[in-house]
């Protein structure tokens, strides 16, 4: 009572600023730096068409004669190409900017799709329960045990074989988003379902039912808002995973084509030249990829520590 009565009504901003989350964020330099780096990468890649000195998608700007120039701090470089050029003579800096944009786009969209599918299925399975629940969760178990990457590889391999690489390359972005989005729904569904089951047992849900509210209202207005912390935590991890998945698939040649490279396909094309000493084609996009994924994971870790949700295990 005394805690409630003494201080005056705080404003919305004060509430947020003084909240546990904001407080721990301010106190955690790793989280602050990670967010800063993430925002920097995101903004730069978003502004790629403005920042990049070359357009890697424009064949007119690419000269094969410029291939494999090292970065400027290495002997034999061309000052025009800050980070050097790749095997096709594209400016690495520009290509990385565009590639990061693609990787981020695919990662975020795929996670959006996962979240949509997983949250809907998880809510329904958890709230309705019974046979539908056990069927859906059994499916989720099976799909998870096959691992995303396996499902994605097989799906993309078959698609590529069916449509031929021409058509496949044209729509690769959509295929990647779809397959990473669909293959990972169990992660969300199981987490959401576990939270829903835990929340459903709480008496505020019973109270809502006794007041006569319909299932949709209870799910969306009451249960979902209380299931958000695990969703937030899992979302950051999922974005990181999706970016890695995309990179891995592209590395295997089942993702973005070399003509429209994401970070993964850039690394892949550079791998062939690593023995001849052109390490930068692989190394620089590799570092960008790792840093990007790392800062997202660090943010996810921080969020997990703060929100401390009971995540679904196993």
């Amino acid at each position: 009572m005394s805690t409630v009565a003494t201080n005056p009504e705080p404003s919305r901003f004060e509430r947020i600023w003084n909240s546990n989350m904001a407080y721990s964020f301010r106190r955690n330099p790793v989280a602050v730096v990670s967010l800063a780096i993430f925002l920097a990468i995101a903004i730069m890649s978003l502004l790629a068409p403005v920042i990049a000195p070359f357009d890697p998608y424009d064949p007119a700007q690419i000269d094969i004669m410029n291939s494999e120039y090292p970065p400027v701090w290495v002997d034999g470089s061309e000052p025009e190409f800050i980070l050097g050029t790749d095997d096709q003579g594209r400016d690495l800096w520009s290509t990385i900017l565009y590639g990061t944009r693609l990787s981020l786009l695919i990662g975020l969209c795929a996670v959006g799709l996962q979240a949509f599918l997983g949250i809907s299925i998880g809510l329904i399975a958890g709230y309705i329960g019974g046979r539908l629940d056990s069927l859906l969760m059994r499916l989720a178990d099976i799909q998870l045990s096959f691992s995303t990457l396996m499902v994605a590889i097989i799906f993309l391999a078959v698609t590529q074989a069916m449509f031929g690489s021409e058509t496949f390359n044209q729509y690769a972005v959509f295929f990647l988003i779809a397959v990473i989005g669909v293959a990972e729904w169990p992660q969300y569904a199981r987490t959401v379902r576990a939270t829903v089951l835990a929340e459903k047992k709480k008496e505020y849900v019973d109270s809502a039912r006794v007041l006569g509210f319909g299932p949709l209202r209870i799910m969306v207005r009451h249960i979902l808002p209380n299931s958000l912390s695990p969703i937030f935590v899992i979302s950051t991890v999922q974005v990181a995973n999706a970016i890695i998945s995309e990179a891995s698939l592209s590395f295997l040649g089942l993702g973005m084509p070399p003509s429209q490279p994401s970070l993964g396909s850039l690394i892949s094309s550079g791998f062939d030249y690593i023995f001849s000493g052109s390490w930068w084609i692989t190394a620089i996009p590799g570092v960008v990829l790792v840093v990007l994924v790392l800062v997202i994971n660090l943010l996810g870790d921080w969020m997990r520590d703060v929100l401390n949700p009971k995540l679904y295990k196993g």
Partner: protein
């Protein structure tokens, strides 16, 4: 117990049926077996005749049942490229992949438990912070990048270890050649195993740490302390057993992921296993081989998951298999 086994078996069969159905659907839609068999030069009439003979004009269901019947007898079709039974092709490659998985598993099991337990017991010590920092970096580096990095450092720059292939293997029996019999074999399998372990190890360290820390917060650990039990016993008897129970289930699921990641590792290291073979088959549109791979991998997943479930039931006293069954 027996009934529980039967239940798990039913589930396993259901899953295998689903996988075989997907496999068959792929086979049915991907590529034309006729073209592979006879080439372009045959007249349309002969083609129709051949189709009839091969049963390609039968209904989808009849064909599926036939496919299933063959599959049960170990006939998963003939590889277009190798002109051999697809299952044989895979069986030749299987040991290489399994040895790679085994190597990685040894690394993961051997390191994750001590590291996870240590970081849980002493969460604020400097080594713990280093381990946790390294683990998050480890999770953030894709397997193929780790592999490339290691090749660059240990093969290209330092020339310590070979960068590709299985090297000098020793024949054991049947299709089985082993890497674990001589130094060259060990040298070849070391980098690929580490690369494959690199994604899973940090995950397990973090999982064990999180579970262990939760268990250490529990009432029964506090009670054990209140009884004056030695910390060593509290950590390794009271806490570790409760920690490992959920880890077992996760471990089962991760075996699937591990097999998937062999595709990446094998590609980078040119490791002659079935993952590498699979990618080649994809590039050659070798449909029977793709389908056979799918079914073999599915079989491995189902078997390992069933075994893990059974082990979990046997190890965890609160899951009463006898009561679940009888």
């Amino acid at each position: 117990m027996l009934a529980y086994l039967v239940k798990r078996l039913f589930q396993a069969i259901a899953v295998m049926l689903a996988i075989s159905f997907i496999g068959f659907a792929i086979q049915d839609n991907l590529g034309d077996p006729l073209r592979e068999l006879v080439g372009q030069s045959v007249s349309e009439e002969t083609r129709q005749q051949l189709r009839d003979e091969l049963g390609l004009n039968d209904s989808f269901l009849t064909q599926y049942v036939r496919f299933l019947g063959n599959a049960v007898q170990g006939d998963l079709g003939t590889s277009y490229f190798f002109k051999e039974p697809a299952l044989d092709v895979i069986m030749k490659k299987l040991p290489a992949t399994l040895e790679l998985v085994l190597g990685a598993t040894l690394i993961i099991v051997g390191l994750s438990v001590p590291l996870g337990v240590y970081t849980a017991i002493k969460p604020n010590s400097i080594p713990s912070k280093i381990i946790m920092g390294a683990s998050i970096v480890g999770i953030s580096i894709p397997v193929f990048l780790t592999a490339i990095l290691m090749i660059y450092v240990f093969s290209v720059e330092l020339h310590w270890l070979p960068s590709y292939g299985r090297g000098d293997v020793v024949h054991v029996f049947g299709y089985w050649d082993t890497n674990f019999a001589n130094v060259d074999g060990w040298a070849h399998i070391l980098l690929p195993s580490i690369a494959l372990a690199s994604i899973m190890l940090p995950l397990f360290v973090r999982l064990i740490r999180a579970e262990m820390m939760e268990v250490l917060q529990s009432e029964y650990v506090k009670y054990a302390k209140a009884k004056g039990i030695h910390p060593g016993r509290i950590y390794f008897v009271h806490a570790l057993k409760n920690t490992l129970l959920p880890v077992i289930t996760v471990g089962g699921v991760q075996i699937g992921t591990m097999v998937a990641y062999t595709i990446l590792t094998e590609t980078v290291f040119q490791w002659p296993g079935m993952g590498f073979m699979f990618l080649e088959a994809v590039n050659r549109v070798d449909t029977p081989l793709i389908v056979a791979y799918l079914i073999v991998v599915g079989f491995i997943f189902v078997v390992t998951n069933t075994i893990v479930d059974l082990i979990y039931g046997l190890v965890n006293p609160t899951v009463n298999l006898a009561r679940m069954g009888a």
